[in-house]
């Protein structure tokens, strides 16, 4: 047993750190560290820097412009980029649809879409959930009917994250109603500018516009935009979901959020002393830090187990549950740390570049909105209840 990185891995970490120190724009890092809003332009600027370095597509084989990092290298990258305040790449193109295209797509699809993902020309969003198909995804109803060399798509998708920025959407659609639910689903790539598509914002409880509904009315999609075989989409969807699940534990993000919390708790006072030195609050922070320490090692154990190749199994579901609970606890504590100042909603302080006096702490304004927004962590990417079902079935055989 040896819990240390190898010499090569340490050298890689130094390289990553040097890159982040030199290339990560300060304004973007400040936004990420302070939980402030990132614009479309911020994401694109960072993506361009990563692409120039050749480090954008960490999950792709080299022949398509990927880096082909080992699981440990990917982990080092996640850890360090969270620590420095680099935004997480919007995953829908690079980490979700791309692996599916690489594994199941035609040569033409690879040639067309992969370079456009690398260059940032296409912004992808995900058309999975529907109003009636959430945890029970296979019950989806959006219909695609083949007419000549096109599909005609009708239906509705929902919870489409950052769909307002996207020009492409990958969709699960029903192509066959005669067979079992899972067997009649296909995987379609759809240009968002096609007539008949309407995007409607969903405003979340913190007042943010992050998710959308996408409506399809007689949308004509060229048949060559089908990925793989008709009616086999469920297989591709599941392949993609394993990619989605890895990384949802957000260990690196939790570590950064914990530092943010400790900063707040060092500056806020209780009875004249920093809150972090208070017996009650100090113990609350200590408890979540300990839980995070354990989850971080669990994460490393999973990474080490797939170092030789392959994808993590149902263990990543356990990690998703614990990891999201830990992140939510950290958000809960940050909200508690600002006490009465959790109540004001100081919208002008949510954006970087606010140059007035801060109502309380410079990092306070996003704290309560972030707590409410991150209730999503235990809901999305397969709710934590669904993850537990996976564990009890796949690992426990129950």
């Amino acid at each position: 047993m040896n819990l240390n990185y190898t010499t090569e891995e340490l050298a890689f970490r130094d390289e990553v750190r040097a890159f982040l120190e030199k290339k990560l724009p300060e304004d973007i890092a400040a936004k990420v560290k302070g939980f402030r809003r990132l614009s479309k332009e911020d994401h694109q600027r960072w993506q361009k820097i990563l692409s120039e370095q050749g480090w954008y597509a960490t999950h792709w084989p080299e022949e398509y412009g990927g880096v082909n990092w080992s699981p440990v290298q990917k982990h080092i990258w996640d850890e360090e980029s969270s620590r420095y305040g680099a935004p997480r790449s919007v995953p829908f193109g690079v980490n979700m649809v791309a692996p599916v295209i690489i594994k199941f797509g035609t040569e033409e699809q690879k040639q067309r879409y992969l370079p456009r993902i690398l260059s940032g020309e296409d912004w992808w969003c995900q058309g999975y959930s529907e109003p009636g198909a959430g945890s029970d995804l296979a019950s989806l109803k959006t219909r695609a009917v083949r007419e000549g060399d096109h599909y005609i798509v009708n239906g509705q998708k929902t919870w489409t994250t950052l769909g307002q920025h996207a020009n492409m959407i990958f969709c699960l659609v029903r192509t066959n109603t005669e067979v079992k639910a899972q067997e009649g689903i296909s995987f379609l790539l759809i240009d968002m500018n096609t007539p008949g598509i309407t995007v409607r914002p969903i405003i979340t409880l913190d007042g943010e516009h992050e998710v959308n509904e996408v409506f399809f009315e007689d949308v004509k999609v060229p048949a060559e935009n089908l990925v793989g075989e008709e009616d086999k989409g469920w297989t591709y969807a599941k392949y993609l979901l394993t990619y989605e699940r890895t990384g949802l534990a957000g260990i690196g993000i939790s570590k950064a959020a914990l530092e943010h919390l400790k900063g707040l708790a060092s500056r806020r006072l209780k009875n004249g002393k920093p809150l972090i030195e208070d017996a009650t609050f100090g113990q609350r922070i200590a408890q979540v830090e300990i839980d995070l320490m354990a989850a971080a090692i669990s994460n490393l154990r999973i990474i080490a187990s797939v170092e030789g190749g392959g994808m993590p199994g149902a263990e990543s579901s356990m990690l998703k549950v614990r990891g999201t609970e830990i992140r939510q606890t950290i958000n809960d504590l940050a909200r508690r740390a600002i006490g009465p100042y959790a109540i004001p909603f100081v919208e002008e302080e949510l954006d970087l570049g606010y140059d007035g006096d801060f109502l309380s702490d410079e990092n306070a304004a996003p704290v309560a909105p972030q707590y409410f927004n991150n209730r999503k962590l235990s809901i999305f990417g397969g709710s934590n209840e669904i993850q537990k079902n996976i564990v009890s079935k796949m690992i426990l055989g129950l």
Binding site: L269, K270, G339, Y341, I343, F380
Partner: protein
């Protein structure tokens, strides 16, 4: 032993319930919240006309000398409607502080208006450094001629943006966090030297921080005995905690009802999701939390207007601890039970969730009250 409301109390609660049902649709609340005033002037007027703002005041002021139970009857319905009018700040706290500490001139000047709703009070007891400790007062009131001059800052004054009169604490002697040396002052809203930073709150109210810069006050502004306000503040925040328990229970009732309804109608895997045991048990846990909160609210109401005692202190700390925790539990588990829909602005559940979590940030959170309670434990 009888835990039911008497006929008069039940009539009172029904009156508020009818008014809220008539005036307070979810859509209207959003409108009220986004208006400049931040709540409904019309609804507030109706509360006054029906005598509801007078509930805790004596008969000569048009009230019926209501105590904890009556105030909770009102607050529970306001909580069910998620109402954002400053009943807690003006009627319960502002009115309470003036009733307890005011001299006859002060009572005459302010209480009649507060009881009819024509005058609104707001209360500034917290400061940026105070966290939840209301004895942590750094705002100074220095003697000046026969009056006082105030300097300092009061934090998160809900309703302070539009109140006619402000009741604030300031230190006339002693060091930060000494209970001795805290005084209360009545400040007309338009007094010179007051600046406000106004903001909406995350749960739909409006409030402000008050910056007091050389605010000159006459001798008649002192409310109660100089330097002796800590006990008054403690007693009145105790009454407010009981009222807040009522509001929280009302909001939790609706949050639980909405969640149960959703479990029955939302279908996944071909069945209502309420058929899944994990969600059944969660719903049972939510209901159990609501019952715990109800019990503590009743207990809090029973001591809210009793003379101060260690028993009263213990009960009110315990009650606020319980509603803080149960409110957060019901919010979080209710959102989880709903899935994404529970997080949307368009659906009322999210707004109940936000209010319930923020109730834990008013008048001390569950940690604060747990510490208070623990400090009163004695070795036997």
């Amino acid at each position: 032993m009888d835990f039911r409301l008497n006929e008069e109390q039940q009539m009172l609660q029904d009156t508020v319930a009818r008014l809220v049902r008539g005036e307070y649709s979810f859509e209207k609340r959003l409108e009220y919240s986004e208006s400049e005033l931040g709540f409904s002037a019309d609804f507030w007027k109706q509360l006054g006309e029906l005598g509801l703002t007078a509930v805790p005041f004596p008969e000569e002021l048009g009230g019926f000398g209501g105590t904890g139970v009556e105030v909770q009857s009102v607050m529970t319905e306001l909580g069910r409607g998620l109402c954002i009018e400053p009943y807690l700040q003006s009627v319960v706290l502002g009115g309470g502080l003036i009733s307890q500490a005011g001299n006859s001139e002060q009572k005459e000047q302010w209480l009649g208006g507060i009881a009819t709703g024509e005058v609104r009070a707001a209360v500034g007891l917290q400061e940026p450094q105070s966290f939840y400790n209301l004895n942590d007062v750094e705002t100074r009131a220095e003697k000046s001629g026969d009056g006082y001059v105030l300097n300092g800052r009061k934090a998160v004054v809900i309703g302070g943006h539009c109140a006619d009169v402000l009741v604030v604490s300031a230190r006339t002697s002693g060091d930060s966090r000494d209970a001795d040396g805290i005084s209360l002052f009545l400040i007309p809203a338009d007094a010179e030297g007051i600046e406000r930073r106004t903001y909406p709150t995350i749960d739909g109210f409006k409030g402000c921080d008050l910056f007091l810069n050389n605010v000159q006050l006459g001798p008649d502004a002192l409310l109660g005995d100089e330097g002796k306000a800590a006990e008054v503040i403690e007693y009145q925040t105790g009454r407010a905690i009981s009222a807040l328990c009522g509001e929280a229970v009302g909001a939790m009732e609706v949050a639980c009802d909405l969640t149960l309804e959703y479990l029955k109608q939302r279908k996944q895997f071909g069945v209502p999701i309420g058929r899944f045991q994990v969600l059944q048990h969660r719903m049972v846990d939510m209901m159990s939390e609501l019952e715990q909160a109800r019990s503590m609210a009743i207990l809090a109401a029973s001591v809210a207007d009793e003379p101060q005692s260690d028993e009263r202190r213990r009960i009110l700390a315990a009650a606020k601890n319980v509603i803080g925790r149960s409110g957060q539990f019901i919010s979080e588990q209710g959102i989880q039970s709903h899935g994404g829909i529970g997080m949307t602005w368009e659906y009322n559940f999210a707004h109940y969730a936000k209010r319930l979590v923020m109730i834990n940030h008013q008048l001390g959170d569950d940690d604060f009250h747990l510490e208070r309670y623990a400090a009163m434990l004695q070795a036997s």
